[in-house]
């Protein structure tokens, strides 16, 4: 079955430190890849997406992600974390030929130490 794996349930980083959140997807042709952020009590906000082209994509709030087909990965990065980045991060995939829904990973909760 098609799936998305976020291996880290909870990550804690110090403010100002760099961040990398991992995401792997099961094999599938032409995946469309997304990262969403959900702050406590809030809805989902799209950080960035990858459909095709340049494998390094830039998103909002200083986030970027790199698509690596050989590793079936789409890791999210940020060079310097701010306290306001503390939230839950979800990786999601839409596979080509599906009915259009997203498949979500289980999420990674990010805590930021002062």
């Amino acid at each position: 079955a098609q799936s998305v794996t976020q291996p880290d349930i909870h990550i804690t980083v110090s403010e100002g430190a760099s961040l990398e959140l991992r995401c792997n997807y099961s094999y599938g042709a032409t995946p469309y890849l997304f990262w969403y952020v959900q702050s406590p009590g809030q809805g989902l906000q799209l950080l960035l997406k990858y459909f095709s082209g340049d494998t390094l994509v830039q998103g909002i709030k200083g986030f970027e992600a790199e698509f690596k087909r050989s590793q079936s990965s789409f890791n999210l990065r940020k060079p310097s974390v701010h306290w306001s980045d503390a939230a839950e991060y979800f990786c999601a995939v839409r596979y080509g030929g599906s009915q259009g829904n997203l498949i979500f990973g289980k999420g990674t909760k990010l805590s930021v130490k002062p």
């Binding site: 829904n101 997203l102 990973g105």
Partner: protein, 114 residues
Amino acid sequence: SAVISQKPSRDICQRGTSLTIQCQVDSQVTMMFWYRQQPGQSLTLIATANQGSEATYESGFVIDKFPISRPNLTFSTLTVSNMSPEDSSIYLCSVEDRPNYGYTFGSGTRLTVV
């Protein structure tokens, strides 16, 4: 991108009753998706709603429990029927923003069943 108005934002309901959640989109969209997010969990697709046809339900979800209406291209409702405490979750609607294949989510309905 599309803007979704979802209501109610939260509710506390008695077991055995039903709650209808509404999503209004500011543009016409073909498909609308309904997700459930159980406490501390990721998003799980309940069903896909196309205008003019019956909703397509995912495994584990049935129409009698989660009836969906899609009367036009901008509106949909999800009803959670005969509720039990296990139905306590956040319910979100989503649409696909063509042509760039982004997805927008409603702000969610936080349901507590007592």
